[in-house]
């Protein structure tokens, strides 16, 4: 921090008398706005701002630096968010509340209260924003605008703040329905809790041995409280049962409904006959527990990113089309482009459609399609694909395929189709519970028909005891509960698992396929190291100052991304700019120039495949020649994530093989594989998106980890997939799990989490099977009366419940593992 710009009160007396006045004129802190009471702690900056403390001053300076200047200029917004304000986009995405436009965003990067605080300040920073309402449990932000206002501005500010904002489709009917359904479930749960609580209280007197008229009164009170449960709270079970029966697949609801109805009728008969055998308490607890577990599970699973938000931003992007009548460029949405239109694309923008380049040259970043890390230089007449980004110069293209029919458009279409075709996996417990409930009902019916000739009353009692006791609710209840605990834990750590099935599938993963650029590596091109021309010379080589100055002076004229990376690196090293003459560009490889009497040539070369240092990937080698003699080489490339090597070694130790699937060239891919100790034959390069998906489909039990549009097709296949932080939106949609934390280690965490979760589930299953069989047998032999069964059943549920809760201990252990790995 630059201390000289800030003068504390003690110093400013000597330095500048006028600064003393500042204290009188500024009674409030510029940053936090609180009144300054303690003059000794106050800080005065040289440009007249006052702060209550050093903390505020530092934060203010950080905020003012760099990207935050964007906030000062209300008109500034990033061109990549322009599409948010096109009419066609607004139609689908904006919602009108009291004649005001609102849009919902999914926000990546929400961490804690500070994020909430910063986002709550947005209306103060952007005058056009009326309200910014953050929902931290869903990571969504509802932005309401004043008239006139632009959503693009809000999104730009969010991105300047370091959050990534994805617009979410306005609440359509399905979403409205889901919200209503949630409220409905919650109401049922509340009513069931109130009623069953009171029933338990009233039943207490009967358990204590109350007899006669009083017992009858409490019985009728129980009945009164049970009726809302029977007719209102238990409704979902009836509808589910009806639906499953119509589909010909009896569900877990069958024995539940059977137990509820038989238990209710029997209790009612006993009540009328003046008997004290009521089961209202156990039935109501059964309904309450089941409702609670189902509610928590469905709440955990509802994340905001789902397939209905599939929207290709490329299609909604604004582009400039040449209008031959008015002789100027019109701004239109990319989806309105036609074949043979002429389009202008500026630096930083994405190409809206497939076409051919019309101007002399342009540098594009093709990573969305190929995942390749190096930009490509395209010359007049070469084909350019939609979705690629112009990184240097500008492009004028002739549209050959419209956006929807472009290669990227086709891929996205396929992704969407496959998502809808994904068959939901019926989870193990559901199947088990299904068969089990049929088995119990059949066994009960058989027993009843045999035993009715022996003792009719005893037959009814024993059959009922069997059904109540053996009702696999522990089975049905424990699994969702354990799963939802795990899902919740994962979500807290920034892993959004879209459905419980994915968690289950992770358990069986044997092969993991990683994308390289952006997944295993950081996805950014940067300067890595200097290399000496003499092989025998040890490390830490650096060219002399003269050479550095020369490289800087020449490369500063080049637009090539490699040159820019070098220039950016050198700028921080105190280089001087020298006069350069006779600059010439060597097409396709580099640049040459002369300084004084020395001729310099800076060219890129293919790196040596046998680089042995094990820190980074080198994708490009730049050689510097002075008077035709090699004097130094610079290594540039993409850094591996710091946790990549460790993670892959750990996965290997638990028997999971890692593979690399990359669209990049073979040299960087094989060097990455070598550094990660991935065996030959487990990595492939130069892959097109279609090919990636084909390879994955050949491996059952595989996991795809990626970040680009070129991975989304592979992700949408039947196997489970993870999108890493910073993924493109098609990936977010296609992937089953979305990670908002940097690095590769979340993959390992998720697999461990899944394995532990299923350990607990198996334990629960074994317990409930043993309990159900032993208890069922005892009931049939007459050792257990319906009343005892009704008491035993919630007890068994409680045992399973505590088993699941104890299972969350592993989650704590899971945190510890994480901690020790990270340190």
């Amino acid at each position: 921090m630059d201390n000289s710009a800030v003068i504390t009160k003690a110093e400013n007396k000597q330095v500048d008398d006028s600064a003393v006045d500042l204290k009188d004129t500024h009674s409030n802190c510029t940053h936090c706005g609180t009144a300054i009471t303690d003059g000794d702690k106050a800080v005065f900056s040289s440009n007249g701002d006052t702060f209550c403390c050093w903390g505020c001053e530092t934060v203010f300076k950080i905020l003012k630096k760099g990207n935050f200047s964007l906030i000062n200029r209300p008109s500034a917004s990033l061109p990549e968010y322009d599409f948010l304000d096109t009419d066609s986009f607004l139609q689908d995405y904006s919602v009108g509340v009291d004649n005001k436009k609102s849009m919902r965003f999914f926000i990546e990067g929400i961490q804690c209260t500070t994020c909430l605080w910063i986002i709550d300040q947005i209306p103060d920073w952007i005058p056009q924003v009326e309200n910014a309402n953050l929902n931290m449990s869903q990571n969504t932000l509802l932005v309401t605008l004043k008239e006139p206002g632009y959503f693009g501005k809000a999104a730009s500010v969010l991105s300047a703040l370091g959050y990534k904002a994805y617009p979410v489709k306005s609440l359509d009917e399905a979403k409205h329905f889901q919200k209503k359904e949630n409220h409905q479930q919650l109401k049922r749960l509340g009513v069931a809790a109130a009623c069953s609580g009171n029933i338990m209280l009233f039943s207490f007197s009967i358990y204590s041995g109350l007899k006669g008229q009083m017992a009858g009164m409490f019985g009728y009170l129980n009945l009164a409280f049970f009726l809302p449960i029977l007719f209102y709270c238990a409704q979902p079970f009836y509808t589910n049962l009806w639906r499953s029966l119509r589909a010909g697949r009896p569900s877990i609801d069958l024995p539940i409904v059977a137990a509820v109805i038989i238990g209710f009728v029997l209790s009612l008969l006993n009540l009328i006959r003046g008997n004290e055998d009521f089961y209202f308490d156990s039935l109501s607890i059964l309904i309450l527990l089941l409702l609670a577990s189902r509610y928590f599970l469905s709440r955990t699973q509802q994340t905001f990113i789902n397939s209905s938000y599939m929207q290709t931003f490329i299609e909604s992007q604004v582009c400039q089309r040449w209008n031959s009548e008015s002789n100027e460029y019109d701004k239109i949405p990319a989806r309105h482009l036609n074949v043979d239109d002429k389009v202008l694309i500026k630096e930083g923008e994405r190409v809206p459609a497939d076409g051919t380049v019309l101007n002399e040259w342009v540098n594009i970043n093709p990573s969305i399609l190929t995942g390749e890390s190096l930009p490509q230089k395209l010359f007049k007449g070469s084909a350019v694909y939609a979705g690629t980004q112009v990184v240097a110069g500008y492009a004028e293209i002739l549209v050959k395929q419209t956006t929807g029919n472009s290669r990227i458009g086709q891929i996205l279409k396929k992704v969407e189709e496959q998502i809808y075709n994904k068959t939901p996996l019926i989870s193990l417990t559901d199947k088990a519970a299904q068969y089990f409930s049929i088995f119990i009902l059949v066994a009960g019916a058989l027993f009843f028909s045999f035993y009715i000739n022996v003792d009719p009353i005893e037959a009814v009692k024993r059959t009922l005891a069997l059904i109540i006791l053996a009702c696999p609710c522990a089975l049905a209840f424990a699994t969702p509960l354990t799963q939802s605990l795990s899902l919740r834990k994962a979500a807290k750590k920034g892993y959004l698992i879209k459905n419980a099935e994915s968690l289950e599938k992770l358990n069986y993963v044997k092969n993991i396929f990683f994308d390289k650029t952006g997944t295993l590596t950081q996805g950014q091109f940067e300067f890595l190291t200097w290399k000496s021309p003499h092989v025998e010379e040890p490390g830490n080589f650096s060219p002399d100052q003269e050479t550095l100055d020369a490289i800087y002076s020449i490369e500063v004229y080049s637009q090539h991304p490699i040159a820019r990376t070098l220039v950016k690196y050198l700028e921080g090293r105190g280089v001087k700019k020298l006069a350069v003459h006779s600059l010439t560009e060597i097409p396709g490889s580099g640049i040459s120039g002369a300084i004084d009497n020395d001729n310099y040539k800076i060219v890129s070369e293919l790196p040596d495949e046998n680089i042995s240092d094990d820190s980074d990937i080198i994708s490009s080698l730049i050689s510097i020649y002075k008077n035709e003699k090699l004097i130094a080489s610079a290594c540039l490339g993409d850094r591996l994530h710091s946790d990549a090597k460790q993670t892959i070694a750990q996965l290997d130790s638990i028997g999971i093989k890692a593979h690399i699937l990359s669209g990049d060239k073979s040299v960087p891919v094989s060097s990455a594989a070598k550094k990660l100790r991935i065996a030959d034959g487990q990595f492939s390069s130069n892959l097109m998106p279609e090919k990636k998906s084909e390879i994955i489909n050949n491996f059952p039990d595989s996991l795809m980890v990626g970040d680009g549009a070129n991975d989304s097709l592979a992700m949408s296949s039947d196997n489970v997939s993870i999108a890493v932080q910073g993924s493109v939106e098609s990936c977010l949609v296609a992937a089953d799990i979305y990670v908002t934390r940097e690095g590769v280690s979340p993959v390992r965490d998720l697999i461990l989490l899944s394995q532990n979760t299923f350990g607990v589930i198996k334990r629960n299953l074994v317990f409930s099977f043993v309990y159900n069989f032993a208890g069922g047998l005892a009931a049939l032999l007459g050792y257990i009366s319906p009343l005892t069964a009704a008491i035993l059943m919630p007890v068994s549920s409680l045992v399973v419940l505590s088993s699941s809760a104890m299972g969350t201990k592993f989650l704590r252990r899971f945190n510890k593992i994480n901690f020790s790995f990270n340190n």
Binding site: G33, C112, L116, D120, L134, N135, K179, K187, G190
Partner: protein, 55 residues
């Protein structure tokens, strides 16, 4: 035991009033976001923000 005839109606009235409050809270969408309000509580100048200062 006659006290039961007073206590039980009171219990019922209490229980039903809580249920009504709960249903009202659900309708007011108070359970839709359980996380943000917990954080909002920690930001001290929530309702009585001093005059906004533009950065």
């Amino acid at each position: 035991m006659t006290i039961l005839y007073i206590i039980i109606p009171i219990a019922i009235i209490l229980a039903s009033s809580f249920v009504i409050f709960f249903l009202w809270a659900v309708k007011e969408e108070q359970f839709d976001d359980l996380e943000t309000p917990a954080h909002k509580m920690l930001i001290d100048d929530w309702n009585d923000k001093p005059e906004k200062v533009k950065i």
